[in-house]
Symmetry: C2
Subunit: 408 residues, 2 copies
């Protein structure tokens, strides 16, 4: 069994790097704070007897040798970059839970058949550089290394230069083809309210929702709110509002595992006594099944056409992101479930609503995830919080599942 | 009859002061450009034989003496300050139409019984200093001189200092009680599409809509758009969108002279994959009848309560502006209508949807307005445009109406 106190202490120590006054963490990808966090992890991993290698996109792999080192490793991990107003657990938990598994096996003197690895994936958050989940995306060949290295932040600094500046432009190939993975597990806080609402400690993650993101533009005609009668208006905010409601309706109509969100809206000229002339908004649709996601896509486009025709305005909709739904590997999912059952923990099957490094890894190796609750389901927020005993429980499940995959 | 070419030439000359590359005018209240515009008007007025006085809030009055100078003057005017991206006609037309009336009477050698005055009201637009219609508001005792003088722009400059800096801090009392007005007429572009849609040249303005402006705040809970199921959300943008639709419905339900507009909306944190946690929006309700406006106010508050209860979010609504509907003086309105009829012009009765200096003047003296069409109803925009023959026609109506009020 793992040492919950040691895991918690490591989490709190890593959270000092980039700590914010409100109790959160600001440790953007490939900044000097990210370097400090990486250096701390690397030191801890070496102290735990691991060999550390860094690949060309800056992913770190800490390897604990097994009996048969020709076998592909059983890998775990996550990320240590954070949102600008991030918390102590998102990503960090998955990495340090992996480290704690290594430490616990050292304490117990256990040697696994296959080697174990703990991965720190570069720039999962996508706050400083897009695309999100960059390190695991390159590793899983979702996009090329060259594409990723060429991305620039708002100050014009490229990923390539930022990696070199912090000393993490590694020489290992960033590719699952070159470095095959035997199995991948990722422990993560849920970032949602489902476990808490159902009073369960372990989320057995069966897969991740597919995602389609869109940009919508409504082109009306701005005019003075006083002298312009209702019937002579082309108010762009009115059809935009109808679409917001429709997006919610589409998600509800495709329950249970469907989501529809308008998170971003820009109104022009945005003046109290001017009828809005142009509105731009984002739509984020998610579903567990690609057939359902396609149906939601069709419903969105139908709604846009219908609303535009009724309002006599121009509306355009453009898809900007697509992730297909990603089921995790049944055998690994069962291993997680069996471990939760065996340890007498409350658990439930869940589907990850968010993208994670494990979602890319699942394209190139068997993969599964373990969720633990976070307070009020809040994440990407400095007040993000989780209970030590839940974090400990999730780490014990991770230990069990990795041992089963690696063989003792 | 007035000289349409001279009126047009004066408009074009004044439009040079603060001219923008896109053909508009940027001449903010109490800036040096405003001073240049005021100086030009004052020079023209003196050249036309007028006495000029300036009051304590910077309103300019150019007086053409009558036979009986003990009688209160028949006054016309408007403003020459503009929006940052303003046009050549909004306000400027009313001032220069007044000047043209004086010039035409000079040419014809006509002396009126009562004196005539052309007023330039300070800071009608409210772009640099709030409140809007400041000069006429002080004159009509809607708020105090001290309140107005103490207002500051975004750079911290007070109205008082700005007036002194441009040399227009006058000594005449800014008060209709001290300087009674016999009758007030204001010619203005419509700033709306009704005359154009109805192919009429003259709008006989019977009054101005009452206005109630509100700030609405919707307090939900921000959360990650992926992991948060639809039924566990408190999406603030969803009830906000329902309110936008409801505001339009309320206005349509109180047709014909009702308006409802949400012109401004602010969404927080406004990120594509975050469920909106807080939305602030403005509501602008207008109606011709105060009973109707009160009914709309009640309907708004009922809608806010109903939507908040359904969405299980907090919603607050706070009124920030109130103008009662302002009927114009029937005798003066008839004078405008009769003149249009007599001159064989197409006309229609209209209600001003926007606030104007005449709306404040109507609180302290008989008042009426004359509207002429503007291209596509567009105003507060550099592309604001109007036809010379329409401007000429409106000015001829103004001449006629002023002569009738002043007596020949
Ligand atoms: N875990 C996470 O926040 N991923 C970002 C992409 C998403 O919205 O799912
Ligand atoms: N004429 C004008 O734009 N007035 C400003 C106040 C209003 O919106 O009516």
């Amino acid at each position: 069994r793992i040492d919950g106190q040691r895991l918690w202490d490591s989490l709190m120590q890593l959270a000092q790097v980039g700590a914010t006054p409100k109790g959160g963490v600001c440790r953007l990808a490939l900044t000097d704070l990210d370097r400090q966090g990486r250096d701390l992890f690397t030191r801890w991993a070496r102290e735990a007897g691991c060999e550390v290698r860094v690949d060309a996109i800056g992913n770190i792999f800490a390897r604990r040798r097994g009996r048969d080192n020709a076998l592909p490793p059983v890998t775990t991990g996550s990320h240590i970059d954070t949102q600008p107003t991030g918390g102590k657990f998102d990503g960090n938990y998955g990495v340090l839970a992996g480290l704690e598994v290594v430490r616990a096996l050292n304490d117990a003197g256990v040697v696994t058949e296959a080697p174990l690895e703990v991965a720190v994936w570069t720039n999962e958050e996508g706050s400083r550089f897009v695309p999100v989940m960059m390190g695991s995306g390159v590793f899983a060949d979702a996009f090329t290394l060259e594409h990723a290295l060429a991305q620039r932040d708002n100050d014009g600094v490229s990923v390539s230069d930022a990696l070199a500046a912090i000393g993490y432009a590694g020489s290992a190939p960033a590719s699952a083809a070159a470095s095959p993975v035997g199995a991948y597990f990722e422990a993560h806080i849920e970032q949602g309210p489902v476990l808490e609402a159902n009073e369960r400690v372990i989320g057995v993650v069966e897969g991740a929702l597919g995602q389609r993101w869109y940009d919508v533009v409504v082109q009306g005609m701005e005019a003075h709110a006083g002298p312009t009668p209702m019937e002579l208006r082309k108010d762009a905010l009115l059809p935009a509002s109808e679409l917001v409601i429709e997006v919610n309706r589409i998600a509800l109509a495709h329950a249970p595992h469907a989501r529809g969100t308008v998170g971003w809206i820009e109104n022009y000229p945005n003046s109290r006594n001017v009828i809005p002339g142009r509105v731009r908004l984002s739509v984020d649709l998610r579903a567990a099944d690609d057939v359902v996601l396609s149906a939601m896509d069709a419903a969105l486009k139908e709604a846009v056409q219908r609303i535009a025709a009724k309002a006599k305005v121009e509306m355009t909709v453009e898809q900007v992101v697509y992730f297909p739904p990603q089921p995790f590997t049944p055998k690994l999912v069962s291993a997680v479930r069996d471990a939760a059952q065996a340890q007498g923990l409350t658990w439930m099957n869940v589907i990850s609503g968010a993208g994670h490094d494990a979602v890319y890894l699942a394209r190139v190796c068997p993969a599964a995830m373990i969720f633990v609750p976070c307070l009020d389901g809040i994440s990407h927020n400095e007040i993000e919080d989780a209970q030590p005993e839940h974090l400990e429980a999730g780490c014990n499940i991770l230990l069990q599942a990795m041992l089963q995959s690696a063989g003792v």
